[in-house]
Symmetry: none
Subunit: 131 residues, 4 copies
DNA sequence: GTGGTCTAGACCACG
DNA sequence: GTGGTCTAGACCACA
């Protein structure tokens, strides 16, 4: 379901947090959906349960996840809704995110146009899949 | 010149490494250019000189930078040339980079289309600037 | 287990790196074996833990060692397998290594023939031990 | 004439010192021969003149080189003669030197036999060249 | 004054 | 308790 990479210098907890936010933001997980248990996800990702628990706790703190005692952990809100500034105020952050991606692409030998092409191809594939 | 952020969970050295690769990849730094001295950059970024030295050493190890003992540190090659597999083999990596960017954008409330629009706007601005 | 010498002009970390490569290359350490902890080895060798950590990190970077966060450091591959060019491309390096050894031997008053004799004697002893 | 390598972690001065000892020990330089001037050698090796001067001074200190004011620097004695213990006492050191070489060879994927073969080949070539 | 090496010691991520 | 990151600061090699 989610992916983390041992060799990435970004801490595992940060990777997992981003992955869950992504899944919720893109609709792979919807409000009300149940997440894997801490222990199950730890086993799946081959990381320590404490690391998973820490991420769940943090996401609960910010309101994205919610826990029902004895039942499990569920999606409670969209990260975008949480992000208290809304789209307008986040425009600058989007630029930063894209800057960073273009930087990494460049260091792999790809231009902004290559990135654009990649995105357009993704959209085409998406359309074909959906009919 | 470069930027690093204390609060980012990504280690400072990884941030700086990416920033330098970016600068070289995008032509802000060209082959033969001298980089700031280890100590100067440490002062500018308000981080420890050892952290900067570690980054320079790592980038030298992979061939992007070169140092002349007692003289300074210089750009030696483009990251894209170093990336020894070439574009073909790096296509998978591009996908990963873009996946990650879309994930972050999504958690800010932006869709893949928003990212696409952003990139297209950048291209328009670039064209207007150049002619 | 390993040895480093303060008075050798070769940096401690380079000495240790060579010693570990040697141990792995010669089977004193096998794939999967755990290495001493960073702190323990630092104590044993009477050097700083950071110096040991630097060596482990470097050997991990090239794939000889692998670390499991919070668990320890393990042998992951043989240096000879890593040396990605294979024997053919490493022949020139072998010449350099032998040049250097002959140089040192010569400065101690030994000729290439003395070195040859020494090697032949080693082989004889080895055979007697095994046969 | 001599060679030094910027990327070798061994300090330049140590590399040069070894190279000169080697040349004298192997007869490429004989007693009475003049060495290049400090400045000339610095230019040839693309290193700083101070580094060369330091090496000459050290070798003069131990008696291998001698300086005649206003004339130049000359070979004065064989390193092997200087090495005050003589061959017998240096046998242990030879073993160490060879151990180290075998270690490096092993990490390149070569066995002790490969090293032996290499040495034997060198002897053959030497014989052919000399008749 | 430049980069390189090393130390001592703090704090974090992870198990 | 393990490795990872970072800091402060010393001293060395080199130009």
């Amino acid at each position: 379901m989610f992916k983390v990479d041992d060799r990435d210098p970004m801490p595992l907890y940060a990777q997992l947090e981003r992955a869950i936010k992504f899944a919720v933001a893109t609709g792979q997980l919807n409000i009300g959906d149940q997440l894997p248990t801490v222990r199950q996800l730890a086993v799946d990702l081959r990381i320590n349960a404490n690391t998973v628990a820490k991420v769940y706790a943090e996401l609960e703190r910010v309101g994205i996840l919610g826990t029902r005692r004895g039942v499990g952990t569920f999606v409670q809100a969209h990260p975008a809704d949480i992000s208290r500034n809304g789209r307008q105020a986040n425009n600058g952050k989007l630029d930063k995110v894209i800057d960073r991606a273009l930087a990494e692409a460049a260091s792999l030998g790809f231009s902004a146009n290559d990135v654009l092409d990649n995105l357009i191809n993704r959209r085409k594939k998406e359309k074909m899949k959906n009919g």
